[in-house]
């Protein structure tokens, strides 16, 4: 925003004072092009991610339902939403029955969208293959209530259909009927509440997805065996997507896998821009 300098800038001076809008344009292109071009980087699957995958595979074998708790909002969508769709796709591809709910009111829209999107892809029927319970305030009361009787806590689902009339809910009465709980959690309340109230009290296996920044806090639960598995940040989601793709699930999603190159290039772009700035800075200083 500095006023136009009277004398013409040298090339080196220009390098040191590139207009911020050019920087923004570069950043925008570096992020958007890889996303549209669907570039993908190969990821190694780490064992906490593989563990989540295996747990859902075993649900398919034992004919047990999956509970997915959507504990994030649009602010953390980039990291969390791909985890949600990747897990739902896996479950539907394996014909695992899914019950979804959320303990963040602001996550309602995303939870609904993810479920609708993936269920249609696999031709799942509402009420028979999956149910969306919606959102309810008061985490501990909700989880403990579900531990006793889901229908008491959620007499009707998000579509206002009584749970009694859902065919799949006839065999799912309380938390312990689930084979696995997955909490896609961007903060509190989140997976820690599911561990505290559901895993510790009702002994349902619990896995989590967290943001990259808070993954460090989740590792101890993994070590102690309280968490069955963990997806950490966009990378975790990308790994899960890779697993989905390896197993040939049609429509395997690519949200995270395509975001990884964008993330990498953006980091490199920043570093290059800073280096350019420094070159310009030192070159123009020497000339003076």
């Amino acid at each position: 925003m500095t006023a136009n300098a009277p004398e013409k800038k040298t090339f080196w001076q220009w390098l040191a004072t590139i207009d911020r809008r050019i920087l923004y344009l570069v950043m925008c292109l570096v992020v958007v092009i890889p996303l549209i071009a669907m570039l993908r980087s190969t990821v190694e699957v780490t064992s906490p991610v593989q563990d989540v995958f295996n747990a859902i595979e075993s649900l398919a074998v034992h004919q047990k339902p999956l509970l997915v708790s959507v504990d994030f909002d649009p602010t953390s969508r980039a990291e969390m939403y791909p985890m949600l769709t990747a897990i739902l796709r896996h479950a539907f591809a394996r014909r695992v029955k899914v019950v979804e709910l959320g303990i963040w009111q602001t996550g309602f829209g995303l939870a609904q969208r993810a479920l609708n999107e993936t269920a249609t892809e696999y031709g799942m029927k509402y009420g028979e293959d999956y149910v969306f319970l919606g959102f309810k305030v008061g985490v501990d009361a909700v989880i403990l209530g579900m531990g006793e009787n889901i229908k008491k806590t959620f007499p009707v689902d998000a579509r206002k259909i009584p749970l009694d009339s859902s065919p799949m809910m006839s065999s799912i009465r309380k938390l312990s009927d689930f084979g696995l709980i997955v909490s896609i959690s961007a903060g509190t309340p989140g997976y820690q509440d599911w561990l505290l109230y559901a895993q510790a009290r009702y002994h349902v296996r619990t896995a989590a997805g967290t943001t990259a920044v808070s993954a460090a806090d989740a590792y101890p639960y993994l070590g102690s065996g309280q968490l069955t598995g963990l997806l950490a940040g966009m990378k975790g989601a990308a790994e899960y997507e890779a697993l989905d793709a390896q197993h040939g699930f049609k429509q395997a999603s690519t949200l995270a896998s395509t975001a990884m190159p964008a993330l990498s290039y953006a980091h490199i772009a920043i570093i290059i821009l800073v280096i350019i700035g420094n070159i310009g800075f030192f070159a123009s200083r020497r000339r003076k």
Partner: protein, 406 residues
Amino acid sequence: MNLLVTLLLLIGAVAPPATTTAPGEATPIVSSGTGTDSAASAPVTPPLPPTKVRAYDTPNDGGKSINLEWQPSPDKDIEGYLVLRAVLGAGELKFDSLDFLPGSENSFVDERADDKQRYVYRVAAVRSAAQGNADSNPVRSAPQWFNADLFNIIVAMAIIFFFILYYIYHARKGKQLFIRRIAGLDAVEEAVGRATEMGRPILFVPGIGDIGQVATIASLNILGEIAKKTAQYGTALIVPNRDPIVFPIAREMVKEAHTKVGRPDTFKPDNIFFVTTEQFAYAAAVDGIMVRDKPATNFLLGIFFAESLILAETGTMVGAIQIAGTDQITQLPFFITACDYTLIGEELYAASAYLAREPLLLGSLVGQDYGKMIIVIVAVLGSALYLLSALKGLNWLTVVSRILKT
């Protein structure tokens, strides 16, 4: 609390759940006393009971809680312990189950005790649906009037209060106190002067914190000092607020500053206004103020989260001098990179004392510096003693760590 209600229901309705029972495996039925497996005809011998079952009121709490401890049953192959409770009173003892614990446990906290009742607890070692019982002493829960676990905090408070008050007292007696220069605060005068020369307003952002956070209080105190200068020079001072409780205080601060320098007539209450409570809506609006009112100087002082860089970068774009300060460690890097001066943590807290040059306030800064010396001494000496506890015969020195435990 809900947790235990449901737990009671659960245990009352069904058999105590074994913690690690895999689906399909039989859970032991305890209360009936007979084996579940009809094919097994041999009588089951009950396991040996646990010993030394001791119940006592949970110390340092608000009552309604009783601790239970026991020595494990000599039988190593038990499935776990069943904890039961009976009210002592007229008639026969009637035990109700509270919880079923794995065999590795040897203590339990009952948080559903009634302070008015006396209880007896029973811990039963369980094996193949047979149980070996041991009862506790009678016990009653009670609230305490002092939490002895927090004694160390009182001591720490006393030490810090002593140093601060001692130097405030010194200052009151007129002793000269030295405070080194703090660049970011020396720049305040220059920043206010610049705005005056340019005939442009000064923007003061008190952050998004509430008054429960000391950074916000510190920010308001600085606002008072800056308002004195702007009132003297007749420079416009804009203060947008996010917290409804901070907002009237900010307005009072500026108003009082005008009164103090004898310019109450120039106070413009409309310049100190409330925007909205939402973090990013506030940031969006302050960005708008920056680009439209073009302040010559921005003060970003107080609690900031992600909006720190949004505000600081926009301020840089419009070419304002920026003095920022926060105690939010995660946001400091952004202020350091985007602002001209940054007050780091404690510098922000000390700012109003530094600017006001009031002896009493300066005295407290000196007192705090002695507090820092104590911290260094405790950290170094504490480490040394704690390390020595690794030596044989000196392991009582682990007390160092316990003293600091909170």
